[in-house]
């Protein structure tokens, strides 16, 4: 068959007939070694560039700010606030139907106010990401997303854990 052998490993034999250097059955000819080095340099350069890019764009990569970080931003700026919904802090005003709760990063607590429907998974003791802006002491949210943690367990086990 014309495509056997020569098709598969055309350049494994060096034109000058040099024997490839061998380490436990895996051998490289000098040209192959040169390609290895080139690849290594290109890879290193790409890694360096990638690292620089990632470091430079750190702030943009963050999907939300914590309550502590929120205070570093000016009021009125539209951004996303993320943290844990404090237990016992969720109330809904019966007249205006405005939802009020506290978001905490376990350092400080931020009051959030929201008009609208929340996702099913929004509840006390679970994570939340609120999009909106801070006005004075209150963060006025225009959108609420529920953030859940990485724990998965059956309801019976969770009940046992809660005691």
């Amino acid at each position: 068959m014309p495509w056997r052998g020569s098709f598969v490993f055309a350049a494994d034999e060096s034109p000058r007939g040099e024997a490839p250097k061998s380490i436990r059955g895996f051998s490289v000819t000098p040209q192959q070694r040169k390609r290895c080095t080139t690849l290594g340099f290109v890879g290193l350069a790409a890694l360096g560039f990638g690292t620089f890019l990632v470091c430079a764009l750190q702030e943009n990569m963050m999907y939300f700010v914590t309550p502590t970080e929120l205070l570093d931003h000016p009021t009125g700026k539209n951004l996303r606030l993320g943290g844990m919904v404090e237990t016992g802090s969720v109330t809904r005003d019966s007249n205006t139907l405005t939802l009020s709760f506290q978001v905490t990063d376990f350092k400080i607590s931020q009051k959030v106010s929201y008009q609208g429907i929340t996702p099913d998974l929004f509840r006390e003791g679970q994570g939340v990401v609120a999009e909106g802006s801070r006005h004075g002491d209150i963060f006025i949210a225009t959108k609420i997303l529920a953030k859940h943690d990485e724990n998965y367990m059956p309801p019976t086990i969770e009940k046992k854990m809660r005691g």
């Binding site: 290895c36 890694l47 997303l145 859940h148 059956p154």
Partner: protein, 244 residues
Amino acid sequence: MSLIQQLLKPAELMDRLNRWIPRLTMLSLILLATGLWFAIFASPPDYLQGETVRIMYIHVPASWGALVTYFGMAVVSVYAFVKQAPMAHLLTKAMAPIGALLCLISLLTGAIWGKPTWGTWWVWDARLTSMFVLFLLYLGYLLTVYQLKPETQALKSAAFIAIIGSLNLPIIKWSVTWWNTLHQPASIMRLDKPAIHLDMLIPLGIMTIALIALCLMLFCLNLKLLINQQRLRSTLMRISHGTN
């Protein structure tokens, strides 16, 4: 000849593929049936998410698969570039559509999972964005090898998409650790013990192995197809040169 060269000798490779395809098909069917039965019926709902959690049994194996396949493509492409081995390029080309499909499944099942849990189909947080970039990389690779002519040059160029693009893989993995994301951190692939209960971890494991078997079978099928296409092309070339 080294072990790799032995494995990639075309005639023997075809024999090996022909033997493994029916075995892998049977294996995948059995594992998928078992896994899906566990996933849908014989596993508990989640204390928080309820029945919605069952999408995990497809989303997680598909996501892992997309990452592992791209890594495989990168490793084989390095070998192909250093050794100048056309057959290795063909292996990479055979893996690509499967990885792309797994990535697409991950994105779509993730969106379907996100809507009832997070409250949105999509956000541009670090995890979701980097998975989307992975999908674009797959598309870039596929477009290069299927559209650019001549094919030998296309395969060589596409190999760099596989190699350089693999830098996205650690970004995907650690995106939930390095940055604030909506997507939760890792439940299993971490130094701590798994954050997922055994009653859910076992079905997840079965579905993962099932998907591996299925993808290996598809890979063998695709590789067979590509090798046959090469044979056909070189035969046609010989014939056309013969008549000139």
